[in-house]
Symmetry: C2
Subunit: 324 residues, 2 copies
C-alpha cells in the first residue's frame, strides 16, 4: 500500500506578486472600471459626478470562522455586507477594493475560493473587484471598501423619515441569526430543514436592486439591516427626530425559522427583530407610494422618539459591535 | 504621601457608537464631502466623472509598533501611504475611509491621537476622513482607503515610459529605512542627529502636490516608492516594456543618512535604493520637459528590460510584503 502525501501550495509559496497575479487572473473587470488592478490605484467611472463609498473590516474568529464557512462563503459575505451599504444609499454598486491580510500557510485553494466568492457576489450586479492590497497576517483580515453610483438621484440618508410615513422591509429578517444559533448550539447540519438558515449565516442575500428602486420610488430614509431591525431603525428614529412603530404582527416567521426556533427553544420574533447580518433593506416611504411586491410594510413613523414594537410584549435589544 | 491611581478610559467603555461619535467630533469635513460619517456610506464629489481609489491594510506588530510610534504617528503614516498612492496617479486626494480594529482595553487617548494623526495628514491637502467602520480586534488593524480627483487629466500609470525619457524622483529616499535600522539596532534616541531619520520611519512626508503637477507636466509613468526605488521602478520597467537605468552617482546621501550609515556600518546607498516607506514619487518624463526644483533626475529609460544601477558595484534587492 502506497501512501501519498499531498503538499498544499500555500500563499507564501506564491509570494506577494504571485498572489496578486493569481487573484487578478480570476476577476473580470466591468465597464465602470477605467483602470483595474495593478497600478498604485484604480480609476472608476463616477458618471453623475459623485461617488458613494463605504468600508468594513472583517476579522477571522470574530466575523467568520474557517471551520464554519468555506472561503467562497467568506468572500460572498464580505462583499455582500459592503455592497448592501451602497444599495442602502439608493446607489448601484460599481466596485470593491479589498485589503487582504493572509497567513503564510494559507493554502492557495483557500485564496482561490475567497476570490471566487468576491467575484460571484459582485458580477451578477455588474460590480468589479478593481484593486486591493496584500499583507501577511497571523489571522485572515479583510478590509473591504465598496463604491457605487447614485444615477443622478439624491442619496437616501437616515434623516428624512417624517410622521405619517410607512416603514417597509425588502429582503429577509432573522435567518442569519437563526443559522448562527444553530451553529452555536452545535446543531448545524443535523437537519435538511435548517440548511437554508445555515446558508443565510454563511452568506446573506441582500436585495441590492431594491435600493436604487426605493430611491426612485421616493424613499425618504433607508439603511441596511446589519445589527438587527430594532437597533437599525433606531438610527432612523434618531437621525430623523421621529418615532418608529414596528407592528410585530406583520413579522411572521416562515417555516424554517419557526422550526429552528422550536428546536432551540428560541423566540423566532427575537431573531427577526434583533438578528443582524441578513442585510435586508429597511426604508421609509410616503404613505401614497405604491410599493412593489419586494417591499413589506412593517410599521409606521409617528411623532416622538425611539422605536416601539407593538403586538408583542417582550423587550428586545440590539447589537453593539464593540461591547459584544 | 498620597498615591493617585489614574484609571484610563478605554474604547470599550465608550462602546461602538461612543467611539464613532468621539472620532467624528475631531474630524473636519471639506467641500468634496457631500455626505460625511454617520450613514451607511459617504457621498463624495467626483467632479470630472471619475474617481481614483486605493486601499491598504496596516497591522500592529507588522507595520507599526505601539512602543516605537505614537498613535498620532501611526495615523499620519497610515493616511500618508494611501494618499501618496492617489498622488502617484496624478490625482489630488479628496478623502479617506478607514476601518479600525481596536482592542477593547485601548485607552481613548490612543484613539484620539490616531484620529488627530489622520486629520493632520489629510487637512493640509484638503482631504477629509469621510467615513469608516469600528470592530473589536486583539491587535490594532487599520484598513485605509483613499480617493482622489484627476482634475480632468489622464491617470499616470506605470506603463507609459518610453526609451529616451528620464526618470526623476520627488521627495526623499532611504530616510525611513535608516530610521528603522536605528530602531532595530536599539540606537534610536541616542543622538539628536538621527531624530529626523527616526521621524521619517514614524511618518513619511510624501510630496503630494508633485503628483498632479507631474501629470500636468506630461509625466508618462509614475508610482510612489513604497518598497524601494529599485523594486518599484522595476514595475515601471515591466509594465512599460523598457529598461530603467538608475545612475547611482545622482543619489548622494545627505548628512544624517551618511552619519547613521557610518554609525551602523551600513551602506547609505542601499537604503536609498531599497528602502521603502518614504513614499517619494518616481516619475518618467519626456526629455524636453523642464522639471521644477522638486524633481531630481536619477536615471533614464532605454530599450530592454529590468533595472540597472550604474555607478555602483553592489547588487541590490527589493521588498516582498509577503515573504519578508
Amino acid at each position: 500500500m502506497e501512501h501519498t502525501w499531498r503538499c498544499a501550495i500555500t500563499v507564501a509559496d506564491l509570494g506577494e506578486f504571485g498572489i496578486i497575479a493569481r487573484i487578478i487572473g480570476r476577476l473580470p473587470q466591468f465597464p465602470a472600471v477605467l483602470l483595474g488592478p495593478g497600478d498604485d490605484a484604480a480609476v472608476l467611472r463616477a458618471p453623475d459626478g459623485r461617488i458613494v463609498v463605504t468600508t468594513d473590516l472583517l476579522l477571522e474568529g470574530r466575523h467568520f470562522r474557517r471551520d464554519w464557512s468555506s472561503p467562497y462563503d467568506v468572500g460572498r459575505k464580505a462583499a455582500a455586507q459592503n455592497l448592501a451599504d451602497v444599495a442602502a444609499m439608493g446607489a448601484a454598486p460599481t466596485a470593491l477594493v479589498v485589503g487582504l491580510g493572509l497567513p503564510g500557510d494559507l493554502p492557495t485553494d483557500w485564496l482561490d475560493g475567497l476570490t471566487d466568492g468576491f467575484r460571484d457576489e459582485c458580477a451578477p450586479i455588474g460590480a468589479s473587484v478593481a484593486g486591493g492590497d496584500i499583507v501577511r497576517s497571523e489571522r485572515i483580515v479583510l478590509g473591504v471598501t465598496a463604491l457605487g453610483d447614485l444615477g443622478g438621484r439624491a442619496p437616501v440618508t437616515r434623516s428624512g423619515a417624517r410622521p405619517g410615513q410607512v416603514l417597509a422591509v425588502a429582503g429577509r429578517l432573522g435567518r442569519a441569526a437563526a443559522g448562527l444559533a444553530l451553529f452555536l448550539a452545535g446543531r448545524a447540519g443535523t437537519s435538511a430543514r435548517f440548511a437554508e438558515l445555515e446558508d443565510a449565516h454563511r452568506r446573506p442575500s441582500p436585495p441590492y436592486a431594491c435600493g436604487p428602486a426605493a430611491a426612485a420610488l421616493g424613499a425618504t430614509a433607508m439603511l441596511d439591516v446589519s445589527d438587527g431591525l430594532l437597533q437599525d431603525v433606531g438610527h432612523i428614529a434618531e437621525a430623523s427626530g421621529v418615532r418608529v412603530e414596528i407592528d410585530a404582527r406583520t413579522l411572521s416567521p416562515d417555516e424554517p425559522l419557526a422550526a429552528a426556533a422550536a428546536e432551540l427553544g428560541e423566540d423566532p420574533l427575537r431573531w427577526m427583530l434583533t438578528g443582524g447580518e441578513d442585510h435586508a433593506l429597511a426604508a421609509v416611504f410616503p404613505p401614497e407610494v405604491r410599493l412593489p411586491a419586494e417591499w413589506q410594510v412593517v410599521g409606521r413613523i409617528t411623532e416622538g422618539e425611539g422605536v416601539q414594537v407593538s403586538g408583542h410584549e417582550e423587550a428586545y435589544g440590539g447589537w453593539d459591535h464593540f461591547r459584544s
